[in-house]
């Protein structure tokens, strides 16, 4: 018997080949290539306007690329070019095998419906039709992201910023996705709340063997969460490598500047 896990992990989950995107004459993203393996956490760092968010949107298929391609290994093991997927397949992928954690929880949550329904929505979208089971699963997930079960029927607009972000994570993970995109998940949270959130994300990632692409301008977040780092500037990837290697021994002048601009603790 061949170890199935080994084969599973041997092939990349997502492959980007010379991705580029231009808005008229402005090139937001140029010639980005990389492969992401199951269970791997990749951080994309860089300053505002460096093309991080554009890249994330290209990778998650929310934006059509001007050049290059993204392919994804589906649950059946077949790797497919994202551009050839129909809209129905793409949307199905988005609510089952993928997650997207927005910086602003209001974009990723339904602020007017209860937390339980927010978590349960994906389940209902894939055909769960038993209220009791949906509710049990939702409470289970709220516990896992450290939200008090007593708040299950409250709308997220009554939640604090940190709770909203945790709820957003629960909502995304309930269908057990294999890949989660995160766009500045800790932006706008105060430091202690950030630390708890990062702790939570780190344990969930390890527990569920998630692959994560996380966009952040906060190098501390990259250091805590990611295995690999890609540094972007002016739409290009200027440096890539293992997290500690890039952050402790930066090669490019820009990366050196970025690393040195962090205040020492």
């Amino acid at each position: 018997m061949v170890d199935q896990d080994l084969i599973e992990n041997d092939e990349p989950l997502l492959v980007a080949k010379s991705l580029s995107k231009s808005y008229g004459r402005i090139a937001a993203c140029r010639d980005v290539s990389f492969a992401l393996y199951p269970g791997e956490v990749l951080a994309i760092v860089g300053e505002s306007g460096s093309g991080k968010s554009t890249l994330l949107q290209l990778l998650s298929g929310q934006l059509a690329a001007s050049g290059g391609q993204v392919s994804y290994r589906m649950r059946d093991g077949v790797t497919r070019d994202f551009a050839t997927l129909g809209e129905a397949e793409r949307r199905f992928l988005f609510r089952t095998d993928w997650g997207f954690v927005h910086q602003d929880p209001a974009q990723g949550l339904r602020m007017a419906v209860s937390a339980g329904a927010n978590v349960g929505e994906r389940l209902m979208a894939v055909g769960w039709n038993h209220y009791g089971r949906i509710r049990d699963t939702a409470s289970d997930w709220l516990t896992r992201v450290e939200i008090d079960i007593a708040r299950i029927d409250d709308a997220p607009r009554t939640y604090s910023g940190g709770m909203r972000q945790r709820l957003q994570i629960a909502r995304n993970l309930v269908t057990e996705p294999r890949l989660v995109f995160m766009d500045e998940p800790t932006g706008g949270l105060d430091v202690s709340v950030q630390a708890r959130l990062l702790d939570l994300v780190r344990s969930l990632v390890a527990e569920l063997h998630l692959a994560v692409i996380i966009v952040t301008h906060d190098l501390a977040v990259a250091r805590l969460l990611s295995h690999r780092v890609m540094v972007m500037k002016g739409g290009r990837v200027i440096e890539t490598g293992l997290t500690d290697q890039v952050l402790d021994d930066p090669r490019e002048p820009y990366t050196q500047l970025l690393v040195s601009s962090i205040l020492p603790p």
Partner: protein, 296 residues
């Protein structure tokens, strides 16, 4: 500039053709909302402009029209629309459900079972069942196209989480022909089972929103629910105070300021029919006593 001053049933023939095309498409795709070029009608939006246009487009000189509003034949809206067609089309009108060939309705389905030679025309204020869950029209259309109806269950989930049962009492969402989720217009959910496998053609017109949709005869219509919280029609637990009917939908009428109330059939034709057939409720007038003049 030589348009005739009068055309049968108010609308000009080109407009009727346009509406009929939309109706045909709606019948071909049960539950799908077909856009149409809704016209200004001589009544305000919300008073049945959609229903009136559909009725005008399907009405023929031989038709017999019945118009009901909340089950009643004698409210302002019902009388005005009935008069409107009596005047502009010269068609016969009736209040008896079984005699009518076209029934235009607001908020009710008649209690008397419909038959194959009838068309039921609904006035619809908001045709989109997902409207209050997803505000973007582009998005709701896409959700219909891809049959992504998880969101509809989110609403039912919310009901149970808040009230312990599915508290949606009217405009209860249904799935038509196992494909499109549809808003049955603000009919009470009591009426939902009547739409299923109905022998009559059901047409829905939304004038302001410019949509027409349809349920062809004998089409499966299923009310959405959860396995552990099945759909249940709701009815006040009382007999009609005038005709003692136990199975009709009731209106609650407050009779004084001391908590007094009576329950009567909302379908006036049904109620009158039963009274004429000799059924009496607890509050029926007793004509023989008045004639006797027992207390002068």
């Amino acid at each position: 500039m030589n348009a005739p001053a009068y055309n049968f049933a108010y609308l000009d023939e080109q407009t009727k053709r346009m509406i009929r095309r939309a109706i045909l498409k709606a019948i071909a795709i049960p539950g799908y909302q077909v856009p149409f070029a809704s016209r200004e009608m001589p009544m305000p939006y919300g008073w049945g402009t959609g229903g009136v246009q559909v009725t005008a487009a399907i009405l023929g000189p031989e038709d017999v029209l019945k118009v009901i509003d909340q089950g009643s034949d004698d409210t302002t809206n019902a009388i005005s629309i009935r008069k409107f067609f009596a005047k502009t089309a010269g068609v016969a009108t009736t209040t008896a459900t079984e005699d009518a060939t076209v029934v235009q309705t607001r908020h009710r389905i008649p209690e008397t079972e419909l038959h194959e030679n009838q068309v039921l025309v609904y006035q619809v204020p908001i045709p989109e069942p997902l409207r209050f869950l997803e505000p973007r029209e582009t998005e709701t259309r896409r959700m219909h196209a891809l049959a992504e109806y998880g969101l509809m269950h989110v609403k039912l989930y919310e009901d149970i989480a808040r009230f312990g049962h599915i508290a949606t009492a009217y405009a209860y969402p249904v799935k038509v022909n196992a494909r499109y989720v549809m808003d049955p217009s603000p009919t009470p959910k009591f009426d939902n089972p009547k739409m299923d496998n109905c022998p009559a053609l059901q047409l829905f017109g939304a004038g302001r929103e410019k949509r027409i949709y349809a349920i062809p005869p004998y089409t499966q219509v299923v009310s959405l629910d959860f396995e552990d919280h099945p759909f249940e029609p709701y009815r006040f637990d009382a007999p009609c105070a005038l005709c003692a009917a136990e199975n009709s939908y009731l209106d609650e009428i407050v009779t004084d300021d001391k908590g007094g109330r009576m329950f009567v059939c909302s379908d006036t034709d049904y109620c009158e029919g039963r009274q004429a057939a000799g059924h009496h409720g607890s509050l029926s007038a007793a004509p023989y006593k008045e004639k006797a003049g027992s207390h002068g």
